[in-house]
């Protein structure tokens, strides 16, 4: 299949693995080993485990599974608010599929649907908008979550809602933005990250410039990388070449998709519909300044929180879980005392076990030892 098979070619994969292994042997002594490379995005984490790349690479090279799975970092309190909104009898609550299983204090959206709430999985916010057009007597709420990858679709949908004068449609906004979180990670004193594989699809929207501070201020190399195995290995090789040469720059492995300046139209839509919040809560990481977005005053009429007034909820993570430490590379998933025991994909205590893109869920699915 075009654009898939050529990026999974076993011979090319083997060649890249060999080049990486050779380069690791030549790594200068100033580089502390094992090298710690953060793949920021849950999509990367999933691909690394699915194809077993972590097991094919040298032992002195470690992946740290970053905070880029929007479902995993979704605070439990936000799910409780979703349940509160969905409980209104006039509401059709629409969500992306993998938010269905995330548990709040009072269960998941899947549980609420089983108990009679009208909750529907959609594949695009435009499907939710069409539901609003088809059901004028109902209130359709779309649960907007995700990084810059999914934000443009939410923005364009609200622009359409306005053009079509659909007053029974609103957005429960849980969109988050990546850059402040990366900055917050780098500011933590005991986090050692040698380089970043940055998410290709976020970069497709924002371009490469926003990562500049990582190379310039923190002197860490960063490579914007695609999601197929050859993309990830080539991105990794580009990172290692920078480390070997003592350089730190923002480079783009995913040029077939990511333009240097990103997508201007998407950026304009985002600027019109969304603005930064003072602070946002991340499950496992706590409050991070300017890391969440809300609707601009011009679009406030589409804000589901203004329309339904769900109670503000803050729910502490289980104190035994070590999600934050996994997200910052201080702990491997299976070193958490709950991993695979109390915390499994069917009964997720910790954030990272929730989505199949979460580090712990991917580790559980693909990396549980067979012994």
């Amino acid at each position: 299949m075009r654009y898939i098979d050529e990026f999974r070619d076993p011979a090319l994969t083997e060649a890249l693995l060999q080049r990486i292994a050779q380069l690791m042997l030549l790594m200068p002594e100033r580089q502390q080993l094992p090298l710690q490379i953060m793949e920021v995005c849950g999509g990367h984490t999933h691909a690394i485990f699915k194809f077993g790349l972590d097991r094919l690479l040298p032992d002195n090279l470690e992946f740290i599974h970053g905070p880029g799975c929007p479902v995993c970092v979704l605070p439990m309190g936000r799910i409780d608010s979703c349940l509160e909104i969905a409980a209104h009898p006039e509401v059709i609550f629409c969500t992306y599929g993998d938010a269905m299983r995330v548990r709040g204090r009072h269960g998941s959206l899947l549980d609420a649907r089983r108990q009679g709430a009208d909750i529907r999985v959609v594949y695009s916010p435009l499907d939710a908008l069409q539901l609003a057009a088809d059901n004028p007597q109902r209130e359709v709420v779309f649960f907007g979550l995700g990084f810059e990858t999914t934000m443009p679709a939410s923005a364009l949908t609200l622009q359409q809602a306005r053009r079509r004068s659909l007053t029974n449609f609103s957005l429960f906004c849980q969109h988050i933005t990546l850059i402040p979180t990366l900055r917050s990670l780098l500011q933590q004193p005991d986090v050692r990250i040698d380089g970043f594989l940055a998410p290709g699809h976020v970069s497709m929207v924002i371009g490469n410039a926003p990562y500049g501070f990582i190379a310039e201020n923190y002197h860490k190399p960063l490579v914007v990388t695609g999601f197929e195995p050859l993309d990830i290995l080539q991105g990794l090789l580009m990172l290692l070449e920078q480390l070997h040469a003592g350089r730190s720059a923002v480079e783009n492995q995913y040029r077939r998709i990511v333009p240097e300046q990103g997508n201007r139209l998407a950026q304009q839509a985002l600027a019109e519909v969304f603005c930064l919040k003072a602070s946002s809560e991340w499950r496992g990481l706590g409050e991070i300044a300017h890391s969440g977005v809300q609707l601009t005053p011009g679009y406030a009429e589409f804000d589901a929180e203004r329309r339904f007034h769900p109670q503000a909820q803050q729910v502490a993570d289980d104190p035994r879980s070590r999600c934050g430490e996994v997200l910052t590379g201080r702990c491997k998933p299976d070193a958490c005392p709950l991993f695979g025991k109390q915390c499994t994909p069917s009964n997720a205590f910790g954030a990272l076990m929730v989505s199949s893109e979460g580090a712990c869920a991917a580790y559980y699915q693909y990396r549980r030892e067979t012994a």
């Binding site: 898939i4 849950g42 194809f51 077993g52």
Partner: protein, 322 residues
């Protein structure tokens, strides 16, 4: 109701047992005894939405699904019962189309729908139409297929491309508007299975319906005590199904099939079984996908040779966010 029976069911399903119009179908035991020494019976209920889809409909599915559950024992499915629950307001033309489809499918392989029941429930108490079918056939004397026969080192074979039915239904149900070449594989498997009766070394057969190949492998592993290891690169998949899985982050191994077998055969029978399957149109994409292991776990070996566990899905497949 009497009119419905006279005008629709008796005409569509016409056969001596049904035409006798007794409270029960009378089936000559001598006929069954001549075909084998054990009765294979299976029942299933069909509640699919949408009721019409590319490659089939709920009627065809209700005949094929149950007949296939009988056929994987080695029995030739001969008789079916049919229970219908209809939602008030279901158009007669829709019911007639489904009943005709059931009749035509049964006739394809000489099966008779010999008894049945129809109930109409108020609007909203059922979704258009639910069908229950029960199938009967005799297992030939010399055939003993089943999970108790599975041994370590056996070959695992699938009879064709995986996930066609599940992908087709997901595409329709969710209005994804994806590839027009998606179609259900809904089909009667008995004709594909018949030549296997003469091949020694066939251990166990299952049709990989709900839960897909993953569910069958777990059932085989749990019941036989053997492990199962399959190779990702060996799985036959149509490009359209593969594309949908890539797009939504789903696994075709978990998708339902309605015309595919998973077979475990002795290594020495592998070539002969494969050749027999390839000779039938339903089996032309048959492939060896793995083998059984000593340790009781279900593994899949990825494209680059790394083995991982293949867990049963937690719930219905849900697409990933990005």
């Amino acid at each position: 109701m009497q009119g419905l029976i006279e005008e629709l069911f008796l005409q569509a399903f016409a056969n001596p047992a049904l035409n006798a119009r007794e409270d029960q179908a009378c089936i000559a035991l001598s006929e069954l005894c001549a075909a084998g020494d054990r009765l294979a019976v299976s029942t299933d209920s069909y509640v699919i939405d949408p009721i019409f889809f590319p490659g089939g409909d709920i009627g065809k599915l209700a005949v094929c699904g149950t007949a296939n559950d009988v056929a994987v024992s080695g029995a030739r499915p001969r008789y079916l019962s049919c229970g219908l629950i209809l939602e008030e307001g279901l158009p007669f033309a829709t019911l007639a189309r489904i009943v005709q489809s059931m009749a035509a499918t049964a006739q394809q392989d000489g099966m008779q729908i010999v008894t049945g029941d129809t109930k109409v429930v108020p609007r909203g108490a059922a979704d258009k139409i639910f069908i229950n079918t029960t199938g009967f056939g005799a297992i030939p004397n010399n055939i003993d297929w089943g999970v108790h026969q599975i041994r370590q080192g056996d070959s695992i074979i699938v009879s064709g491309t995986l996930g066609d039915h599940g992908a087709t239904i997901l595409n329709l149900r969710e209005g994804l508007g994806l590839a027009s070449e998606l179609g259900s594989d809904c089909a009667l498997l008995a004709p594909l299975i018949a030549p296997l009766l003469n091949i020694p070394g066939v251990r166990a057969l299952r049709d990989a319906t709900r839960g897909g190949v993953t569910a069958v492998l777990h059932e085989f592993a749990a019941a036989s005590g053997c492990g199962m290891e399959i190779l990702e690169a060996a799985l036959p998949l149509k490009p359209a199904v593969r594309g949908m899985c890539e797009l939504l982050g789903l696994d075709a191994l978990n998708f339902a099939n309605e015309g595919k077998l998973v077979l475990v055969v002795a290594p020495e029978a592998e070539a002969e079984v494969l050749a027999a399957l390839h000779q039938h149109p339903l089996g032309r994409d048959a492939a060896v996908i793995g083998h059984t292991l000593e340790r009781q776990q279900v593994n899949v070996v990825g494209l680059f040779g790394v083995s991982r566990r293949l867990d049963l899905p937690l719930d219905e497949p849900l697409p990933r966010i990005c």
